[in-house]
Subunit: 131 residues, 4 copies
């Protein structure tokens, strides 16, 4: 995950949030879950900073979207308590795995601050900016 790619994703996410009239923070991690880029729009609830990081971390570490992770890692799910590993993960949408042209996971992006639906949509727009 190069900084130039992460910056492009970050700009696309923020532009999409502005277009939707919402405010979010965005975290982009590499495949090893180390931070590459981060931005917080003015006025986002501070609790969302950790949430967007954990969404991106969930996606990178388990190579799946956090919404899919939520299906298995919740009370009653087949891997209940999985969400409590790795320092705490996020069992709802807004974290997406970032893949290269061959499908290999190269990082994760997490968006938080708006509705879960908006967070997911914004993350998808950011991913699309990579191709």
């Amino acid at each position: 995950m190069q900084l130039s790619s992460a910056t492009r994703m970050l700009s696309a996410a923020i532009a999409e949030a502005e277009r939707r009239g919402v405010i979010v923070c965005v975290s982009i991690l590499d495949a090893a879950a180390w931070p590459v880029a981060f931005g917080r729009m003015d006025g986002v609830a501070l609790g969302c900073i950790d949430v967007c990081n954990k969404k991106a971390r969930t996606a990178a570490l388990f190579q799946m979207d956090s919404a899919d992770f939520a299906m298995i890692a919740c009370p009653g799910g087949e891997a209940y308590s999985l969400e409590q590993t790795n320092g705490g993960l996020t069992s709802f949408g807004g974290g997406l795995a970032i893949r290269d042209g061959k499908g290999a996971v190269v990082g994760g992006i997490g968006v938080s601050g708006a509705s879960t639906e908006d967070d997911i949509a914004i993350a998808r727009v950011a991913l699309a900016a990579l191709s």
Copy 2:
């Protein structure tokens, strides 16, 4: 959140607890969740100290009452696992967002030690002392 305002809230909370014949501890944080004032009445179970801090922290960081936070952050809620972000949050009542005259969040107050019902009522009395 000025110290003079926080002190007024703290005094009101403790007076209300005495009126109800219960004992509590009270934490008042600013909008960035940094402590402004704290008081623990004699005899409160020590575990409640962290609880009142986390209640206030939940309210400040997500700009909502901890009882409302509980509706979305718990197992089965739309954002299950949200309660495990930000160092651990509190999914039950007794934490209230403190707002200025224009509705902007300027801090959070958490009360713990009595029943949740009493904790909430005491926090509300403290908030009322601000206006």
Copy 3:
């Protein structure tokens, strides 16, 4: 350490800080290093919150003033590295042990935000308010 005593100390400390024209935060812990009362004056650097807590903690846990603790717990001191125990202690002045009429330690007070000299003087005024 009763809340009424802690509140009296806190008020005395803040009045003394105002008299000196400085701003501080003040932490008062019981003999087991659990918080009893805390207040932060408007404008204190946020890093001082943890510092005043650690000063009070140092005084309570080792039953000595943090300035005395500093003589033994520093590089070259007879108990170097002691300052790194108990989650990190404070090796400079501004933390005082609180004693009852018979000399038994009942808590600790920490003051931070002004010069170390002022911090110490303010803590002493607070102690004097107890007798």
Copy 4:
């Protein structure tokens, strides 16, 4: 600290690092030490991520440059052990307080990855981009 200002500082820092032929990561926090923007150039040693965060945190929480903080917080300094408060601070250069037009601290910037001399120079260029 607005995102637009932070983004401007971040871009200026990275451009200056490129001009000097070094690689760094840059963290920009608000006055309460919450993240606003972050970027890591390709190839920076991963350990520098926490370092740049702690530099910015030191500057914001104590309202001074981390190089000045180092003079008082280190072994032999008047506030030895201060560097161990607040989750661990940074006693060397590369963290600068960000001030508004009236001199009030509105955040902190930390740069890490190059020599301390380069880190400091890059942070200064970023600050200059604000005015």
